[in-house]
Structures are given as C-alpha cells and as structure tokens.
C-alpha cells in the first residue's frame, strides 16, 4: 500500500490531536507535528475546565492514548514547518527539528496552530509588566495548577480581581472583536480560587458576561451564586500600587457609582490573537488570513483554507476546547472525504 495518502497536521493541541485521531482511524497516514516537546498545545497549561470542572490532563491523556494506539500516526514534536511548496496533488513540506531538516510529501494539510494572548502591557493603566501581581490569564492558570498541587500548603491569595475584555472589544488600543472564551475561563478561574481558598475574595469586572454555550450560563450562575464570586459591571480604569497591594478604580455601571477595591492580585483576561506561527504557516501555504491574522474561512466550506489545506481550532478564531475538538473532527472529515475520491482529486476543485 505505497499509495496510502498522508496528511500533515500542524499543531498538536486539542484540534490537531482530534484531526490526527480521526484521519488515522480512517486508514490514512498522519504526521502530527508540534513545536513543543509533547502533545496537548495550550491545553497543557490549563487547570480544570468549564463547564464541568474536568481535568484537561485527562483529555490529553485520552487523546494521546488514541494516537499512540494508531500505527498510522507519526508524532513529530519539537518540529516546525520551515518551507512548503506545491507538488503535484499535494505539498512538499520541509520540517525542521533541532536544526535538522527533513522533507515529507503531504497530500493534505490541516493547520491547527492555536492562539496567543494579546500583550496586556499596552495598557499602562493596568500595570501589566510593572506590577508583580498583575498577571495574564495563562500565567494565572500556571499559578492555579501550582496551588492545586500544593493544596493546603499555600497561603490564600487574599483578594483576586479579574478584568475581562483586556484587549478585546477595544477599538483604540486592542481589537474590536469579542474573544469569546474569556467570560467562561474567567468564571472557571474565579470559581477555582474560591474552591481552593474559601476565605479568599474574588471580583470579576465585566461589561457583560457572554455565556453562549451548552451549560455555560448555568456554569457562570453557579460560580456567582454557589461560589460567591462577586461580579461588578464595569471596565476597570486604573490599578494603583497602595501599601503593597493593588488599588483598583472602576465604575459600577449598574448603579452609576465609582467603586474602589484593594486587591492582592489582578488577573487580566487578555484577548485571543493568532500567534506568529499562524501567520508564517498561512504565508507558506499561500492561504488567506483576515485582518487580525486568523485564517480566513469561506462560508460554503468553513474548515477549508485553500487547496488541500484545512484548518481547525483557535488559529481560525478564539474557540474553547470542545469547539476546537469539533473543528478538528470537521477538518479531518474534509481530508478523509478528499482522500476517498477515486483519483484523490477534489470533485469541485
């Protein structure tokens, strides 16, 4: 079976892993490449999940096992895509790893390069980068993991304030779009703090909370009503150092009153942006990105980015883990359908 087709999946987060599992399961070869040294992507950095408080490590372990069981999937970690050129019905792709390059022939490509966080230091008023206890949401996930591992041995963080829409919904210094997942992971993070440290206080500053998803609204309400996280409607204006703490100034827009709070830590839910890797890959495969750098979609085939190139996950737009997996499966379906054509030709190409 020398004619077994090969798909290259770039990025081994939830979307890429799912795509690899599905394509491998359908009987085609998969090369699953990731620049990191293990599978899981950003998901590896996360502590717990919404809306069911499940451990992301379990999900990664499950998908990794599926991948390891499939002989058709080759994992290439610490690997980046160096070059790509059209070659017959596919691409000749140069992969780089530890300074060495190798060439592979890919009959289809799935891009699943994920996202990055917007650089919150753009907002001098929040002091990210200047004050130690102002962190972005991914840095806070690492802290949460640490606290969870040392449960009972760590001192309470005291008062934690969460700022949503840092870089999102900001036409002046940030991005005009809503990053979609911050409302949910912020509720999760605040809820986790209250679970680990019941005597701590958590405040979430929000403009509105957007919980559009199955069990999402119930999740946020449970964090407010059962875990007693305080939601304050208003976008914080300023963080000031005061007596070793952080004084936050904002308006409670529901009452039209200015509010102040001294916090011990500020967590910034920075906007979701495509990473530089996504731009580079888009260039290499000559596919279209939107003005923000997310891979562009077309209405008729939303998982398709170009000729034999598909995409899934947050490189297309901010998406939660579940959505990334679904998109990974959808992109895999496109590849499998393509590979199943009698001559490997796209019907409508």
């Amino acid at each position: 079976m020398s004619t077994v087709k090969t798909a290259l999946v770039i990025g081994a987060g939830p979307a890429g892993m799912e795509a690899a599992v599905k394509i491998g399961g359908a009987g085609y070869r998969v090369i699953l490449a990731d620049r990191a040294d293990s599978l899981g992507g950003t998901l590896r950095q996360l502590c717990s999940s919404f809306p069911r408080w499940e451990d992301p490590a379990d999900l990664i372990a499950y998908k990794t096992e599926q991948i390891n069981k499939c002989p058709l999937i080759t994992i290439k970690t610490k690997t980046t895509v160096v070059a790509a050129e059209k070659n017959g019905n596919g691409y000749l792709v140069t992969l780089g790893s530890d300074g060495l390059t190798s060439e592979i022939q890919a009959d289809a490509v799935i891009i699943a390069t994920g996202f990055e966080l917007f650089d919150a230091s753009v907002y001098g008023e929040y002091g990210y980068g200047s004050f130690d206890n102002v962190v972005n949401s991914l840095e806070f996930e690492a802290l949460l993991k640490e606290w969870q591992e040392n449960q009972g041995k760590t001192a309470s963080p005291g008062t934690v304030a969460f700022f949503k829409c840092v870089g999102s919904r900001d036409r002046a210094k940030g991005l005009p779009y809503c990053s979609r997942i911050c409302c949910m992971y912020t509720a999760k993070q605040a809820g986790l703090v209250k679970e680990l440290f019941p005597d701590s206080k958590c405040y979430v500053f929000y403009m509105d909370y957007r919980a559009a998803g199955r069990e999402y609204e119930e999740f946020v309400r449970s964090v407010i009503e059962q875990r007693h996280v305080r939601y304050v409607r208003g976008r914080p204006a300023k963080v000031l150092p005061e007596d070793g703490r952080l004084l936050i100034r904002a308006e409670d827009t529901l009452m039209g009153m200015p509010v102040e709070i001294a916090a011990d830590m500020v967590v910034l839910a920075a906007a979701i942006v495509p990473g530089p890797g996504t731009r580079q890959i888009a260039r290499l495969f000559q596919i279209k990105s939107d003005e923000y750098g997310f891979i562009d979609y077309n209405r008729n085939e939303p998982a398709k980015a170009g000729d034999r190139v598909f995409f899934a996950g947050a490189c297309g737009f901010a998406v939660e883990t579940l959505g990334a997996i679904q998109q990974g499966a959808a992109a895999a379906a496109e590849v499998i359908a393509l590979f199943n054509q009698p001559n490997g030709e796209e019907k409508n190409a």
Partner: protein
C-alpha cells in the same frame, strides 16, 4: 443635596469601597424574605414594568443592587418604600423569581420600626387611616378613607369632583360593608401586635 423629593442622594455618588461591603444585609434578606439577591441578573425587567416607577427615587432593580452592596441607609430612607403599592408585577415577572415586593414589605417594616419617617406627603397618616378601616370592618372603604384623609389634611375639596364621578358610576359607596367573621380579624391584629412586641 436633597433632590426634588427631599431625599439625600449625595451618598450615592461617593466611591464605594467594595472590600468594605460585608454580606450581612443580603444574609438578613435571605433569612427574612427567603430571597437570594445573588440570583439577580440585573436585567431590569422589574423596573421596566413597575406600575409606579415614574414616582420612584430608587428603582426595584436598584433596590436589589443596594442590598447586594449592603447599603441599608438609602434603602430605609428611600421614597420608593412608600410609593410602592405592592402590586407585585416586579416579582411576578422576575426571571430569577425574586420576590421584590416581599423585600419592599420587609424594608418598610424595618424603616417603620426604626422610626424613619416617610418624606412623601402624609403617607404615614394614610397608612394609619387605611389600617384603621381594615381593623374595624375588614375592608377598605375607599370613599370614607378619601374623605377622612382629606379632612385630616385640611384639603377638603381636593377629590370632590373625582369622588362625585366615582360615586355616580357606583365605583365607591357611601357606606362600607363589613366582613362576616370579624372575630378572626381581631385575632390577626392582636397576634401581629403581640409578635411586634416580642421583637
């Protein structure tokens, strides 16, 4: 600065220290009224449909919000406490099922017990007269109540024209009817007075 209704509103615009808020007021409301204000979605459906909101100084949603933020003082001093007619549209329509009218009742009682006087025109007198009728007959005799109220406040002919029209249409009667079992009624009043004395 007192606004047109005579209520001090200045306190509302002082910066609120969120960390200074304790949850004793929400807890008190939870115990007394069985209402968890944290379930409030801040949607404003209560205020939007309130039958008397045009004469309220603090809207029903703001009442719930003030409880959340533990601000008892403006709650007990607000005019809305006395402008509220307990029509219960707010609670009936609330998506979180919050019984706001019950909260208003509770706050009204608390203000009364604390001797906080209503600033609205003769509202105390009106309440007392009305309760007097109920105590005596078990019913509100609108005609007599209006006449008695206007006599006491010295505005003899204030509702004369309206009263005449209502009378001609049979909407108010010159004499009030009485309920049958006035002994039970007397006991209700007696018990509520005893309960208040116990507190």
């Amino acid at each position: 600065m007192p606004d047109a209704s005579g209520i001090e509103t200045q306190a509302f615009f002082k910066t609120i220290k969120l960390d200074a808020i304790d949850d004793s007021l929400p807890q008190e409301i939870k115990t007394a009224c069985g209402v968890d204000v944290e379930t409030c979605l801040e949607c404003g459906k209560c205020s939007g449909g309130c039958s008397n909101v045009r004469i309220f100084d603090i809207t029903p949603r703001q009442v719930v919000k003030l409880i959340k933020t533990g601000q008892e003082k403006p709650l007990l001093a607000m005019d809305a406490l006395w402008a509220c007619v307990s029509c219960q549209l707010c609670g009936d329509r609330c998506p979180a099922g919050i019984d706001i009218a019950r909260i208003m009742d509770y706050l009204r009682e608390k203000a009364y017990q604390k001797g906080i006087k209503a600033t609205r025109y003769q509202v105390q007198l009106f309440h007392e007269l009305m309760l007097g009728f109920i105590k005596k007959t078990g019913r509100v005799a609108e005609g007599q109540l209006i006449i008695r109220f206007n006599l006491k406040t010295g505005r003899y002919f204030k509702d004369a024209d309206l009263g005449r029209r209502l009378f001609l249409k049979g909407k108010i009667k010159p004499f009030s009817s009485k309920i049958k079992n006035r002994e039970d009624l007397r006991r209700i009043f007696q018990e509520s007075i005893e309960r208040e004395e116990d507190q």
